[in-house]
């Protein structure tokens, strides 16, 4: 046990750090992109407050196409963009670019789903009171959907954590990469198991924290 920590402790610590970094940063930027995308998808639906059926159809298709690209292919595809943004195409920072772009459409759909759950009557009441579309979005839709958005955030974060395992292909490190390269390929089973356990702990931690926040933020259950 002692020997194990001595040999792999630093490697694993680095791996945890890299995994966290490659999970939290892309999640943040995926929401920066995906939240407005989700709002657009919702309000431009037929019957929405800014209905634009053709735009909605085209935009919806774009989102679907982005979601269909296998992550590995997407990573390679956008290398020029990654270089432009991160200065390089390799490493954990660079990997955040394809991670963000892959996650943004997923987040958009989750946000859309959260907004769809809001009672139509609440939106109509706001319209009756003379609210502008912007006010409806910011003061009704995004307010009433907060608990649902937080639960979606939990799901999105863990999904992105799953993607980070593939980023080893661009030298990004992380726990998944360690498990695969050192644990599986080089038959160091104990290392592989430890890495998996660490990943499980990370997931449980993230899930637990977000669920707690969502519950406490929901004013309907007081």
């Amino acid at each position: 046990m002692q020997a194990f920590i001595e040999e792999y402790g630093l490697l694993l610590l680095g791996g945890v750090g890299e995994t966290l970094f490659m999970t939290l940063v892309p999640t943040l930027f995926a929401y920066v992109l995906g939240l407005p995308m989700g709002v657009l998808l919702t309000i431009t639906k037929p019957g929405g407050i800014a209905a634009a059926p053709r735009f909605n159809a085209v935009f919806g298709w774009l989102v679907n196409i982005l979601r269909s690209l296998p992550f590995m292919i997407l990573m390679i595809f956008i290398i020029p963009l990654t270089r432009f943004i991160a200065g390089t195409s390799i490493g954990a920072t660079a990997a955040c670019v394809p991670l963000t772009i892959a996650a943004a459409p997923f987040v958009a759909r989750m946000v859309e789903q959260s907004l769809e759950e809001i009672d139509r009557g609440t939106v109509e009441a706001a319209r009756c009171m003379g609210a502008t579309n912007w006010q409806i979005v910011t003061r009704v839709l995004l307010v009433e959907s907060v608990p649902s958005l937080l639960r979606g955030l939990s799901i999105s974060t863990i999904t992105i954590l799953g993607y980070t395992a593939i980023t080893g292909a661009v030298g990004a490190g992380g726990l998944g990469n360690i498990a695969f390269r050192f644990g599986y390929q080089r038959y160091q089973k104990d290392l592989m198991y430890v890495t998996v356990v660490l990943l499980i702990l990370l997931v449980c931690l993230i899930q637990g924290v977000f669920n707690l926040i969502a519950r406490r933020a929901d004013k309907r259950s007081r």
């Binding site: 490697l11 966290l20 970094f21 939290l24 940063v25 943040l28 390679i76 290398i79 270089r83 390089t88 195409s89 390799i90 490493g91 954990a92 920072t93 660079a94 080893g168 292909a169 661009v170 030298g171 990469n177 390269r181 050192f182 390929q185 080089r186 926040i213 406490r216 933020a217």
Partner: protein, 276 residues
């Protein structure tokens, strides 16, 4: 609630900034898989760029570096991604086939030589099912492949990406009646080499049929079940592994060529930076 979110935001931004710290050392990319990663590190060791720990051998990883006098940073990447990542690296050690596939084969600075442990170990072999080693057609094929003419042709045709093991003078058996020989091969360079020797074999009454395979399992399974007579696509370690995993009885009759890994230039274009 808002405080918590602000805290999270600050944390994430802090992490981003921390990651932005660059390093001044040379970045050398190597394949991240067990087989090729070790080979790459051994090549770097042979070039005097670093020293591996005692006994690390062909399964070495970047964690087995004992001495690193030039403060080189080893960046393990997916082997097929190395060519495309060159602009972000100083150098990269790349398999010949990926390099030539990416069109950078002729930029190679240095390759493994035929005497090296890696070349000897990873030479590509001509294989048959156990028991068929002495079939006249197979022996003829082997002799032609190892002839000086063909070995020289290999050296001249692939710009260093594919290298001959070295000519051997083998006897080509006399074959009275025309025999057919069906050989399974990967498209490049194996099938191409076979195409080159096809007319030569025809002169010796062997009618060579080339069956191309895109994967690395079917050539062996087809050989085992008799659909083909021989195959030419793998190296000995892979064959040994395959026999062990699948209970097949395939043997090599000779090593024809090796595909060296080479050091290719990225942001830096000369290995002179590593001379003391």
């Amino acid at each position: 609630m808002k405080k918590l979110l602000s805290l999270a935001l600050v944390l994430v931004l802090a992490l981003s900034l921390a990651a932005c710290g660059g390093s001044a050392s040379y970045k050398i990319g190597i394949p991240n898989d067990a087989t090729n990663g070790g080979r790459a590190l051994m090549l770097l060791q042979d070039l005097g760029i670093l020293t591996l720990t005692e006994g690390a051998g062909l399964s070495a990883t970047e964690n087995d570096i004992a001495e690193n006098p030039y403060n080189v940073e080893i960046v393990p990447l997916e082997a097929a991604n190395l060519p495309i990542s060159l602009p972000d690296l100083d150098f990269a050690v790349i398999n010949g086939n990926y390099a030539s596939g990416a069109g950078i084969g002729d930029q190679v600075l240095v390759t493994e030589d035929a005497e090296s442990v890696a070349a000897q170990t990873y030479g590509n072999v001509l294989c048959v099912k156990e028991g068929n080693e002495n079939s006249p057609a197979v022996q003829a094929l082997l002799a032609v492949l190892m002839s000086e003419e063909v070995q020289n042709w290999i050296a001249d045709s692939y710009n260093g990406v594919v290298m001959p093991m070295g000519a051997q003078d083998l006897e080509i058996p006399e074959i009275a009646e025309p025999v057919s020989l069906n050989v399974g091969a990967s498209p490049s360079p194996h099938a191409e080499i076979l195409e080159y020797v096809q007319p030569i074999l025809a002169e010796h009454n062997v009618e060579l049929t080339i069956t191309e395979f895109d994967d690395y399992v079917m050539p062996n399974t087809s050989l085992e079940d008799g659909s083909i007579d021989a195959n030419y696509f793998q190296h000995q370690p892979y064959l040994d592994d395959f026999n062990a995993e699948n209970g097949t009885h395939i043997v090599s009759v000779g090593t024809i060529h090796y595909e060296p890994m080479g050091v290719y230039p990225g942001k830096s274009d000369s290995l002179d930076v590593f001379s003391k």
